[in-house]
Amino acid sequence: MSDTTTTEHPEPEADEAVEHHDEGHAHPSDWAYVKIAVVLAAITALEVFTYFETVLDWGVALVPSLIFMMIVKFYLVATWFMHLRFDSKLFGRMFTAGLILAVGVYLVTLTVFEFWV
């Protein structure tokens, strides 16, 4: 693995053998992808649990909890599966710009419906 690879990218946890490539950027191993998928599956199970769970009273914590779990899943897919964690920051900026614009447009629209109609 090139020195560029080791210095430009954050270091995920190390525990397995490393293959070495002479060129290119580091991407996670297959095992790392599987671990991320297991985490995603667990979070999804927790989300669904909140829907069926009747013993605990989530109350006002329900919606923030669901949104938090959604954001974590979103982050994991974008950074690990879409490689934003390892790629050029420019790619992430392009995507984030659209995302922020979309959220902004929604909030403005919601404001219009809530306050101006």
Binding site: M1, T6, E19, H27, L62, G98, A102, V105
Partner: protein, 208 residues
Amino acid sequence: MSADTVAADPGHAVDGHDEHATTTGLSHTKLAMWVFLGSECLLFGGLISTYLLYKTRGNGRTLPTDVFDIPFTSVSSFVLLMSSLTMVLALSAVSRGEDEAGRTWLLATALLGGVFIGGQVYEFTSFVREGVAFTTNPASSAFFTLTGFHGVHVSLGIVMLMSLFVASVKGKLTQRNAETVEIVGLYWHFVDIVWIFIFTVIYLIPAD
């Protein structure tokens, strides 16, 4: 070097996989895909916003939220989530030059996408049977438009995956042009991300 980071990035123009140097040092194709995905955020942002604004407007008729089948949709969501894993494994395999494994994972991804679409067709059909059709009320129109557009995106993704599979069978998809797999993968993961959002905001968060 981390143990979890092993494979080379097939989509980076300066890593030797791409013959054409670019002024940014980045693959223009990949950059274009990211710009496209940024614009797609606006499309789905608009559709999701519309649904959230109209979700309680039933005009006295059945709302989509009244007929949601959360267990069924949860399974569909899980299937789509796992298709992201198979997609990234396909890219990983093709990047290592393991064409056979790459084809297997591409096919698995397409099949999981097909299962998701099949589930959506079943869901739409059962909604119509229960009195929630496209024109029933503003809420149903917004719901079918949003999830329908997402379904079209998944379907297009399946077409792209099958195109890659066929190209691989013909020997036209190798380690050298693994960036193509990564570009399709970005699109596929984006479709998954959108569903992550839809599943929580539309299905799981209570309507009122």
